[in-house]
Every structure is written in C-alpha cells, then in structure tokens.
C-alpha cells in the first residue's frame, strides 16, 4: 500500500470538495472492506482517502408510506436486522443473507456494496480492469474465465459485477441519489451501473467528485419478491449466479415482473424477455422454467464458464418460484 493523505469530513459538501476530478486523486472510504484490499493489492493508489463515515446524514434506514430509504452508510448488518425490510422486501434481505461474513456485514456499507470493484482475478493481480497483457491483448477469453461473464461479455469487459444487493434493489425499482459539486443527482439504480469501455472507466455513473448518499426503494404493496443465490460454499463465497425477482401481483396472476441477474455480466443484468413471459400468468414450475431459459437466451459462454448459464437459469427459475410463495425458499 502506498502512502496517502487522509481526510475525515463531517458534511457531504466538505467530502465532495475533498474529492478530485480524476479517479487517481481520491477514493471514498466507508466500510473499507473492498477499498483496503484494492489498495494493498495495488489496484488503486489514491493520493487521498476521504472517510465519509462521520457524515451522519448518510446513515440509517427508514421505512414509511413512500417506501424505503437506505442511507449509503447503513451497514449490511443493519439491513439484515431491519424488520420492515425483511417483511416488505424479502429479495433485499435474502441478497444480504448471501454475504455470510460477519466482519463484512458489520463493516460493509450499502453504498460500498454497490460501488465495490470486480473480483476478476486478473484485475486483482494487476492486469488492469480490462485484464490485458503487455501488448494490450485481453487475458480473459483465452484464460481461466470460470468465474467470468456469460452475458454482456463481447468485450472489452469480461468481469462480473460483484454486488449482491444491486439485482434485488433494481428488481424492486430502486433509485440512487448522488451528491456532487452541482448538488443532488437522482437516477434509476439500473442506469447507475455501466459497462466500462476503457481500463480507466468505472462500473458506475458516479463521477470522481461525487458520493452515493442514499437508495430509495418504492413501496412494495402487492409486490412479491425473492432472491436466489447459487453459491458453492455456505461460508463466505462469491455467488456463481444470482437472480432477484419482483412480481407485482393482481390476484394469482403476475401483472408486471422484474427479473435481474447478478454475477453473470459486467453489470446487474435485466432479463426483459423473461419478464414478459410472466406477465398475466399464474406462476407455475413450467412458466418459471421457461422464464429461466429466456433469461439466458442471449448468453454466450467463454471457454470455461458455460456451466454458469445453467446456474443462472436455475437461479431465475427458483427465485420466481420463491417470490410466488411469498419470498420463501
């Protein structure tokens, strides 16, 4: 880890003024569960760390008539402990349950969970975000890509987005609020995530001088939701594929479905075709199976990750069936 300057502002205005116009100037420190390892591994080397943990207004989770507000500094454990969340938004709680490290749950924040960087082992070993060799040739397509993308993987990005919560939040129609020098920006969380085209890009719409302040999730009245995660170990382990499903119900029938897959693409991946097949139907094993197949229609395996297509199919099918049962497994 290289030497850096450390700042600990107490307002978001101060925080933003301490950030830079390019990514190498400053990084935002919250839980630090990802940032510290990125710095130790030399993947990032910021000149300044801006600790935002002292900015009180970024904390807390509140549920009311208008929906749910999750402060960027709320921890994963706080999310898990929140009864209002688990009652109305089981997809979120189930996604958080997949993060099985007590240390990460206690320190890791929602804002950090959404902004964490890819776990691609080439990236983490110093080959850059797009994992290229000295000649600029990509290492992933011909390398060991067992954990890499099966969707949105035409390049130059082949990694999978590491967030476990994003698919659930997007399925539930969440928006994200950002704060920068020009004030507040709000956007659909779905649009927050981007696929980098260069090694200097990031995986979100966040600018170097902005911070995430909160997540807003609309009310879930009449919505059934669930997250299904395919993970090899019970112990802390990255998911191999996840699916979050939110079904707006009208009686027994699905009015509108939203299906978002995680760990399959460089960004959380919306399965529009699969969503449509559920519309106006009662959920059955067959319909869920069909949706799973449609969700992976555009999937393209690299040399050794074909199995993930099957895992994602199963995740979609099982998440739909869980959601229809009211979020139970």
């Amino acid at each position: 880890m290289r030497a850096f300057e450390y700042a600990s502002p107490t307002t978001k205005e101060q925080a933003v003024s301490l950030l830079g116009n390019s990514w190498d100037e400053a990084e935002v420190l919250a839980g630090g569960t990802d940032l510290l390892s990125l710095m130790k591994d030399g993947c990032v080397a910021p000149k300044r760390l801006v600790n935002i943990k002292e900015i009180r207004e970024l904390r807390g989770i509140s549920a009311g008539g208008g929906g749910l507000r999750i402060g960027a500094l709320a921890t994963i454990q706080e999310l898990l402990d929140n009864r209002a969340v688990s009652r109305a938004y089981p997809a979120i709680t189930q996604a958080a349950e997949g993060i099985t490290s007590p240390q990460i749950r206690s320190l890791g924040t929602i804002g950090g969970e959404l902004c964490q960087r890819p776990r691609c082992w080439y990236y983490r070993a110093g080959y850059g975000l797009l994992a290229t060799d000295e000649q600029g040739e990509p290492l992933v397509p011909s390398g060991d890509n067992r954990y890499h993308a099966i969707l949105g993987n035409a390049g130059p990005a082949y990694f999978v987005h590491a967030s476990s919560l994003a698919p659930a939040l997007i399925a539930l129609g969440a928006k994200v609020r950002l704060f920068g020098p020009d004030g507040v920006r709000e956007m659909w969380l779905d649009q927050f995530f981007t696929t980098p085209l260069t090694a200097d890009d990031r995986e979100t719409a966040l600018k170097p001088n902005e911070i995430v302040t909160e997540i807003i999730v609309p009310t879930a009245l009449g919505v059934k939701s669930a997250t299904y995660e395919v993970r090899q170990r019970e112990a802390l382990d990255w998911p191999l594929a996840t699916a979050s499903v939110a079904l707006s119900m009208s009686g027994d029938r699905v009015r509108v479905a939203r299906i978002v897959m995680g760990h399959v693409a460089p960004r959380p991946w919306r399965a529009a075709e699969a969503e449509q097949v559920l519309a106006e139907k009662a959920v059955t094993e067959e319909v869920a199976q069909k949706a799973g197949e449609l969700a992976l229609n555009g999937a393209n395996s690299l040399s050794r990750n074909g199995y993930k297509i099957q895992l994602a199919r199963v995740a979609v099918k099982r998440a739909i069936l869980m959601a229809a049962r009211g979020g139970r497994g």
């Binding site: 290289r2 080439y122 112990a235 802390l236 990750n305 199995y307």
Partner: protein
C-alpha cells in the same frame, strides 16, 4: 532394570482417556504466542521481491534506490543476474526496514529486468507436456494381459485431483537475531525444532551449536515446514547486515500459497478387470502428475489392494510452479482417490454394493484385511449403510440427490527418534524436557499424560518444556511419527526415574524397590497398598541432588510399532441442477494401536476429515497458462470449507487388547487419505455418473451430468470416458 511396557488397561489412570489439551485455554484466549506473534526489541521487517515470471533469466538488478531510502537497513540480493528462475514467486531480493510499509516501498523501488523463457504451468493434459514429461519405469506383476482376457467385466475410467497447497494459517517464516557475529537466535515456525540449527547454520557458516531455536506454538505445517527455507537464511543474513538486529520475515498470504509447498497432482487412466462375482483380477493404469519444477514422486497404484495381475506406468511432469513438499500422507490421497474410484466404478458396473465388493476382495488388502473387515462393520452401523445405500443414481424426486460412498487407507506411523530429560526434584516437582514441538496435535498433552501416568501423578504435576533446541533432540513432526517417538522416550525416561526413586524410598519402607508402585500420588507397597509415602514425602528421600534420567526412542521394550488401517464412509447431497455438493455426514473408523489421549486422537481425525472435505469439494491451485501465475493466491478463491460446509463428522477409534498390544502408532496422516475418495464415490452414487476430477465443483459436476454418454464413454453404471 525397569520393565519397559505400558500399564495394563485396568491400571491406567490417564492413558486412553479423553483428556482436553493442556494448551487449549492459552490458544482460545489468544495468549498462546505463535512465531507470527513474536515481536523482538528493535525488530526490523523483511520483505521479499519475487519473480513475476514463471520462467525467466535475471538480466539485471538495481537496488540503488532502495538502499538509499530512509528506514531501509539492509538489502540482500538472493539470486544474482544470470540465474534462471523456474517459478513465479521465487525470491530475487530481500530488504529489511524499520517497518513494513517502508520495506514494501523499498521492494517497489528495486528494478529487475528479466529475459522471459517459455513456461509450462498446467499438466492435466499429458499430451501437452512435451519434453517436460519424464516417464518413470513401468511395473508389471502377474500376467495382466492374460487376466484382462479372462475378465468378465472391464471398466475403464479417468480420475484425477489437482495440485493443492498446504495453506498454513500461520504462514512460513522466522525472526533471526545475532548475539555477536557467531551466535544466532531464531524464532521459527517449524515442524522440526531439533533440526533447524544444523540446517540454518551451514549456509550461514556457523556451527549448529551456536544456533538457539525456539517455537512455542505453530499454526499448521502439514508437511511443509520440515526444512529451513531460503527466506529464513535470508532473514539471518539481513540481520547480520543490520548489525544483528532481529529481522522478521513471515510470508504474505499470496507467497504462502505460491511458494511454500504444494501437494502433487495425480491424473490416471485406469482399467480394472473383474469376474462377474466381483473378484478383482487385473489392473492397468497410466498415471501422471506434477510436483513443480522438481519431482513429485508417484502415487501408489493400485492403492492398498494388491491386484494379482497389474501393469502400471507413471509420468512425472516438470512445471514452472512452486515445489512439492510432503503433504499429510504424501501421495496416499492421490493413490487412494484413483484406486477407490476405479474400484467403486467396477462395483457399480457389476451392480454390487461396494461394501460387499470391497469385503469380497479384502484379502488383497494384506496385513490389515481383518482390521478393515472389523472397521467396515462398525462404519456400516454408524452410517446405516445397508439401509441407506442404493444402486447408482438416486431415484428420489426433486433436484437434490443423496448418495453414499466408502474408501479405505493405510499408513506406517512408526515412532521417530526421540530423547528427553526427566528430572524429579527433592521437593517432588517433576520436569520433562524435550526438543520436540506440538504441531497442534496435542503432543504436549500426550507427553504430560505419559509422565503423569508413570508417576501416578495428576497431569498438572508435570512441568513440560518443549519447543527449544537446548532440550534433548527429538525428531521432526511428520509422517505420523511424533506420538510413537515422544510417548516411548517419555515412558522410558520416567520409568527409569521412578526406578531410581523406588531405590531411594524402599529402605524406609523396608521393602525391595521392585515391591513398590506409584499410584494416585503415592509410592506404596504393591502387596500392602496401605503402606507407603505420599509423592512429596517419597521425594524427600532423594537427598540433595535431583534424579535425572534420559529417555530414548528407540530403546528397550516394545512401546510402539507401525502400520494402521482405517475406513471411511461419506453421505452427500448433490443438487443436480446446480452441481453443488453438500457433505451430510462422514464416518471415520480408525486404528492407531494404543491410544494415549482419546480426545486429541479423535480431534486429529476430525481435523483430517475437515481437510478432506476441503480438498474433495473446494481446494485447487489455479494456474494461468498464459501468464504462468497463480490466479488464486488468496483465501477468497483458494477455497476452504467453513463451519456450515463440513457436515456431521462421526469418529470411532478402534481400541481394545489387540490394538493396545501393538503399542503406540501415529495418526496424523491416515484419516486424511480417504475423504476425497469416499466423497467422490458418494457423489457418483448420488448422481449416477462419475465426476472424474476433484474438487467436486459445480462446473465439474454439471459437466459430468450433461455428457454422461460422451463419445467413447461408458455407460451410466461405472467408469467414465477417459477424455481429456
């Protein structure tokens, strides 16, 4: 002269009981100091610059910028320009600095240029190994060709398991400091306290007698910490360059996984010939493996079962990766996985219960055939095998299929050379000193139990000192040799000391020394137990000079032997839609002769089963063919089981007269041999096809399920396509 034997069962107060390890409270409270925890006054931190290339020649090294950095106290080039580097992670230059960040900055300031050379880092495909493949001698027994001709069933399969690392939770390393320029003090994480001085003294050019070695506790070795490593010598050299100040080099996690030891892989194409009634008559195998740039030995094939007609051929592949080191039962888990999988596939083809099939052929297991038979009966009860076993491929509804598998194994485990000093002080206090180490297995507890048993004292009456080379030498802890060695030397030393005590005490009781016994804190007359003295009173008869004896192994009397058998059964659930395997239960039935501490013996087996679940389902060193680097030198992708992944573990230790009579035998290796095979067999039983290679990850399980009838492959029952 004392009679050197173990007390009769009815006379044992401690031996064979479940005694909690004496260092448990220190370990769970964090008070136990491991080498990693040692902080010496004015200590410097050493860091190592490692080769990023798997195969290269060093062209130039420029350390000038590092040398000028404030806080950097010493810079040492480990391998000079011109040297050929044979694996990524190999040590090039080391620095010592006042703190870790400064040392890391210095490492980054060193400029090394390399001439890259072609490398080979993967070996699963034998045909791609080219000149790196070196065939070993072929072996033939009986008449394999004729036997295959007479076989009524022939089953062919491909089986394998990848390189894994030792992944010690306490990484390798040491702290060295000089007293003057001829005396060295080394704190080191080692499996061989008594061997370090000689190993480190030689390259440093000082006599072994001038090296003091210490280690209180070790966080895992598994066979990878027998030898002083180059970085240990480097730490001592840096210390000397820095005026003798202590220099600490403990490996970072990535280096620990890249360079501090691997278990060789093993892959094999196997053909088994059998009669329809299940008699195994022929074996043929073509196997290969890698042990890094050096050799990796070869797996014993077929394992345990001496098939009368066999032909085996093995090829070693040199790869540009870190070197092999002994890994708990070297080459046995590999031989076991290949053999037991092939035999289970044969049983499945015959539609035989593998338990019946193994028992039918158990005479081929030789010396331990009867032990295995007895153990299988117990294991089958504990697993409810006959009730729960089904033909291959569970017919239950739903995606989760359950299956059972079994395996068996053997190991030597004879006691190593061991010496100890036993002192009985006139005030009644007792010391035992031995240059051994407690590898985490309960060695301390076992030594104290033996001494306390001999003297008829409680465990806490024994003051035991180990982990220091100023004590009498004792062997390295490896190969399951420690318990047999230290229990025997301690027993002999304490019996001799007790005999001397009896000589001092006998006149005051008006009996001969041989008429006395030490029981329950008293020295008393055997024929009239009311006559006697308390231990303390007895020791007052010693006079001014303490009794001192030297216990040795080997020595007179039969206190230990070697050779054990064990069997294991696994119960797994497999989600056939995701390929995820869960271990429900593993049963281990294990023989190890006379057991000193039943509790730590059971713990040893529990630990082995956990390690077995890890390598069966998760562990794998993943190398990148193009860059030559290890892709998972970390704890997130070098996967180990967590608590929720282990399942129920049931351990049954064989005890009783026939086992006691063989004396003490080691237990470290045997129970880790079978889990891979038993779990792989259980998965095959659950899903109906063999998943050829460990670890049994979702991709491998799904691949086996999706293409059960690949071209050239065999049917659902038994065997699999030898396709690579």
């Amino acid at each position: 002269m004392a009679e050197y034997k173990w007390p009769e069962p009815e006379k044992r107060s401690l031996i064979g009981k479940r005694i909690s390890r004496v260092d448990g409270p220190a370990k769970v409270s964090g008070k136990a100091k491991y080498t990693y925890d040692i902080k010496r006054p004015d200590m410097l931190y050493g860091k190592v610059l490692r080769s990023p290339h798997a195969h290269a020649k060093i062209v130039s090294i420029d350390t000038s910028a590092a040398e000028k950095m404030p806080g950097v106290k010493a810079v040492k080039v480990i391998q000079e320009p011109g040297t050929e580097i044979k694996w990524a992670g190999d040590e090039i230059v080391a620095v010592a600095a006042v703190d870790e960040p400064t040392a890391e900055d210095a490492i980054r300031a060193i400029k090394v240029t390399y001439e890259k050379l072609p490398h080979l880092v993967v070996e699963e495909d034998l045909s791609a190994a080219g000149d790196n493949a070196k065939p070993a001698a072929e072996q033939t027994a009986g008449e394999p060709e004729k036997a295959f001709g007479e076989a009524e069933v022939i089953v062919e399969g491909f089986y394998g398991l990848p390189v894994i690392t030792h992944c010690c939770l306490e990484s390798h390393g040491s702290i060295s400091e000089w007293e003057g320029d001829q005396n060295l003090l080394v704190h080191i994480s080692t499996q061989a306290v008594s061997n370090v001085a000689n190993q480190i003294g030689r390259p440093l050019g000082i006599p072994a007698a001038n090296v003091r070695v210490k280690q209180d506790h070790i966080g895992g070795g598994f066979g990878s910490k027998f030898q002083v490593d180059r970085w240990d010598v480097t730490a001592a050299q840096l210390s000397k360059m820095a005026g003798g100040k202590p220099v600490k080099i403990m490996l970072e996690r990535d280096a620990e996984l890249m360079v501090a030891g691997i278990r060789p892989s093993a892959y094999a194409r196997v053909k088994v010939g059998a009669k329809r009634d299940g008699e195994i008559i022929a074996w043929q195998s073509e196997s290969w493996n890698t042990g890094g740039s050096g050799g990796g030995g070869s797996p014993p094939l077929p394992y345990v079962f001496s098939v009368p007609n066999k032909h085996t051929q093995h090829t070693g592949i040199a790869t540009n990766t870190g070197s092999a080191r002994a890994w708990r039962a070297p080459n046995h888990p590999q031989g076991c996985l290949v053999t037991m999988s092939a035999l289970e596939d044969t049983a499945a083809r015959l539609e035989m219960d593998p338990l019946d099939f193994f028992l039918k052929n158990i005479e081929l297991a030789g010396r331990f055939a009867e032990v295995y038979r007895e153990e299988f009966a117990i294991a089958a009860d504990l697993m409810e095998w006959k009730k729960n076993w089904h033909q291959r491929g569970a017919k239950t509804a739903g995606p989760v299929k359950r299956g059972l598998g079994l395996s068996l194994h053997t190991w030597g485990g004879g006691g190593h050379g061991s010496n100890c000093d036993v002192i009985i002080h006139p005030d009644g206090s007792v010391e035992v000193k031995m240059g051994t180490q407690d590898l985490g297995t309960g060695t301390r507890t076992a030594i104290m139990m033996v001494a306390a048993e001999t003297f008829g004292l409680p465990l806490e009456a024994i003051k035991l000192m180990i982990g220091d080379n100023q004590f009498p030498t004792s062997g390295a802890s490896g190969g399951s040799t420690t318990i047999g060695g230290v229990s025997a030397s301690t027993r002999r030393g304490t019996l001799d000391a007790l005999e001397q005590l009896f000589e001092k005490v006998a006149p005051s009781l008006n009996v001969q020394p041989a008429d006395l016994e030490a029981v329950a804190g008293r020295i008393r007359v055997k024929s009239d137990p009311r006559r006697g003295l308390s231990w303390k009173e007895a020791c007052m008869k010693i006079g001014g000079t303490a009794i001192t004896t030297r216990g040795r192994n080997p020595g007179p009397g039969t206190l230990n032997s070697s050779g054990v058998g064990g069997v294991q059964m696994a119960d797994v659930s497999v989600d056939v839609e995701t390929g995820i395997v869960r271990v429900n239960k593993v049963v281990a039935v294990q023989d190890c002769g006379l057991i000193i501490d039943l509790k730590t013996a059971e713990s040893q087996v529990y630990g082995a089963l956990i390690m077995g679940v890890c390598y069966a389902l998760y562990e794998e060193r993943i190398m990148d063919a193009r860059t030559g680097r290890m892709l998972n030198p970390n704890m997130e992708f070098y996967k180990l089981a967590g608590l929720g992944d282990i399942g129920e573990l049931v351990v049954h230790m064989m005890t009783g007269k026939a086992y006691d009579e063989r004396g003490v035998i080691g237990l470290g290796e045997p129970p880790v041999i079978s889990p891979g095979a038993a779990i792989s067999n259980a998965v095959a039983n659950a899903v109906g096809v063999r998943v050829p290679s460990l670890p049994l990850t979702p991709d491998r399980v799904l691949a086996a399920l999706q293409y059960p009838d690949r071209e050239g492959g065999s049917s659902k029952n038994g065997g699999n396509d030898a396709g690579i």
